[in-house]
């Protein structure tokens, strides 16, 4: 069986920026805020098209988030952006007080998610943003895998009533989905069914998981792939089905292995169908400078490493249940 080909499409941040302009044309309630990073978060397209509905607050993320909370009480739908790290880490209390508790209809889109932003290093890398976001009651937390998913989710969150955090990425993302695919909040995409294990991933790791499944298939393992683009609410039914059908889960995320998708998946599996689970992510550490490719390899975010890890997980499962490989 062949390893599927990597075809690069739009970076998720670019797809977001383009969709936001369309959303702004369609919905005059949409107001966009940025904290002097609009060229990087890609809200600059909206700024150009709708200058009266674009507020560049300067390098002041806390003020931006509380302003969004105020705008949301005026019948407007604010979309505030910065790098995911600054958006979550610098403003946690503002999100808690002004947005999460009163269920403000405000959207927060953090770019440069994970470590794949590359050379800028640890200060810019968000490896704890998901843990922080899922700790905010009432928030939906989303990480799209490609441009199509990002575009669809931008429209989804524009129509959704309530607070949302969505993470986008810096590098071009491999194409996974065809235009027209629907991405509801709380959903997931079972891209491939497996009998021996399922890789649960989001963001850039979804494509790595698909290639890892191909590699594992060459070695005789049947590995499924589930895209959990909605970390919260998590599609618990899909997790339960994957656990039941394949008997083991490998969670892969560009994030700490604590507090993010891995924790959410483990909790869901523990509740509904406990199976062996393993986690690929950053184990109690921060990112560092390097090219995106070098970093992805360094932290094990490659198809090859995921294939090795899922095979090891399957063998562990078999050993535990007394089944000979």
């Amino acid at each position: 069986m062949a390893i599927r080909e990597r075809k690069l499409g739009a970076a998720t941040r670019d797809a977001y920026g383009e969709a936001l302009v369309e959303l702004g044309a369609r919905d005059s309630r949409v107001v966009v805020l940025d904290s002097d990073l609009s060229k990087s978060t890609k809200t600059n397209g909206f700024a150009k098209k709708f200058p009266d509905r674009f507020l560049n607050v300067g390098i002041a993320e806390a003020n931006m988030v509380s302003m969004a909370a105020g705008l949301a009480t005026s019948g407007l739908v604010p979309f505030a952006s910065s790098f995911a790290s600054f958006l979550m880490c610098k403003t946690f209390d503002q999100l808690r007080m002004g947005v999460a508790n009163p269920r403000a209809n405000a959207k927060f889109v953090g770019s440069h998610g994970g470590i794949s932003l590359g050379e800028d290093g640890a200060s810019q890398m968000s490896v704890e943003d998901v843990a922080l976001a899922v700790a905010l009651p009432h928030f939906a937390v989303l990480i799209p895998a490609d441009g199509v998913a990002t575009r669809a989710l931008t429209f989804t969150i524009g129509a959704h009533e309530g607070p949302v955090f969505m993470r986008t990425g810096r590098p071009k993302a491999p194409v996974i989905y065809a235009e027209g695919e629907a991405f509801p909040i709380g959903g997931s995409k079972l891209l491939q069914e497996g009998k021996d294990a399922t890789i649960v991933a989001n963001g850039l790791l979804v494509f790595e998981a698909l290639q890892a499944a191909d590699l594992a298939a060459e070695a005789g393992y049947s590995v499924g792939v589930l895209d959990c683009y909605s970390v919260k609410p998590l599609d618990e039914a899909a997790i339960a089905r994957a656990a039941k059908a394949s008997g083991a889960l490998l969670v892969a995320e560009e994030h700490l292995t604590t507090g993010g998708l891995g924790a959410m998946v483990a909790q869901a599996a523990a509740k509904h169908h406990p199976v062996p689970i393993d986690f690929v992510g950053l184990d109690d550490k921060y990112g560092e400078s390097g090219t995106p490719d070098a970093l992805m390899k360094h932290f094990g975010f490659t198809a090859e490493n995921l294939a090795d890890r899922v095979k090891a997980l399957i063998e562990r499962k078999r050993a535990a249940s007394g089944v000979l490989a």
Binding site: V31, G58, A62, S66, A69, L71, T73, L76, Q94
Partner: protein, 284 residues
């Protein structure tokens, strides 16, 4: 300006209302056995003036989209806000006795969505002015004509976010925004002079491109004059530095750090209310 709320123009009448409501503040904190009397009493004259004279609002339609907004950024002073809102009929005054009790809409610090008339969740200091800037920009974008008033503490100005908001509003000339600083010169641990001196406070705001009005925060003529001046100020946000006294109106609480966050006993409630009552009786 107001829709169904009574509008009171007389400084003496405003004073009468505010001094009467002080009894509710003391009683509700005493009954709750916890709360912040000092900062409630320093702020209540400003809040009374806002709701009885300045704000365009409708207690019968608290979510009216063209209403002016008031944010109590120093959320711990909420007994003063609750007393005014209850008196105006935003909710039943019977609720005063439930302050800080499980299930009460009168939370220990104000929460948006729990009580009619509360416009923002506050209590984590430093955020109200930013929320107010968002509301003021929202009013500009929607064309609602709403004006936004934010009351902060002076100790609260230690928070860096206040100055982020001040810099934005000054730079963009957000002139439908008014900040009021309750300058009672005390914070929890000590006086503001001992923790982080704030003066020259007017210069600080002017440097951030705000129009500054400096008044006695217990003199109703001056408070009314300050709000009138703010309404006339175009192209700049206005800040009113209201020089106040913590615990104002209750002699044993006035300017006394001990009463930042201490509830009065039954005897102290009685003594305080009697003292306030005397002030209310017109001298012949």
């Amino acid at each position: 300006m107001s829709q169904t709320a009574p509008r009171v123009d007389s400084p003496d009448e405003l004073r009468q209302i505010a001094w009467t409501l002080r009894k509710d503040v003391i009683t509700m904190i005493g009954q709750a056995k916890s709360g912040h009397p000092g900062g409630s009493l320093s702020a209540i004259d400003i809040i009374t003036t806002l709701y009885y004279n300045v704000l365009k609002h409708d207690p019968k339609n608290p979510t009216w989209d063209k209403r002016d907004r008031f944010i109590l950024s120093k959320g711990h002073g909420c007994p003063a806000l609750y007393a005014v809102l209850g008196e105006l009929g935003y909710f039943s005054k019977d609720l005063f006795g439930t302050l800080r009790q499980l299930g009460s809409p009168l939370q220990g610090h104000p929460e948006l969505g729990k009580l009619a008339g509360v416009e923002a969740s506050t209590g984590s200091l430093g955020q109200g002015l930013s929320i107010g800037v968002g509301m003021a920009e929202g009013a500009r974008i929607t064309g609602s004509g709403a004006r936004v008033y934010v009351l902060t503490g002076d100790g609260e100005l230690d928070e860096g976010q206040v100055w982020e908001a001040a810099m934005y509003a000054g730079a963009k000339g957000v002139d439908n925004l008014v900040a009021i600083v309750d300058v009672n010169r005390q914070q929890l641990d000590d006086t503001t002079d001992h923790i982080l001196p704030l003066e020259p406070l007017a210069d600080k705001w002017r440097a951030f491109r705000w129009h500054v009005v400096d008044v006695d925060g217990h003199d109703f003529r001056q408070i009314l004059g300050a709000f009138a001046e703010a309404s006339k100020t175009k192209g700049k946000p206005t800040v009113i530095l209201a020089r106040t006294t913590k615990g104002r109106g209750v002699s044993f609480m006035e300017d006394n750090l001990e009463w930042h966050g201490t509830a009065p006993s039954a005897e102290q409630i009685k003594a305080a209310c009697e003292e306030l009552e005397k002030e209310l009786t017109p001298s012949t």
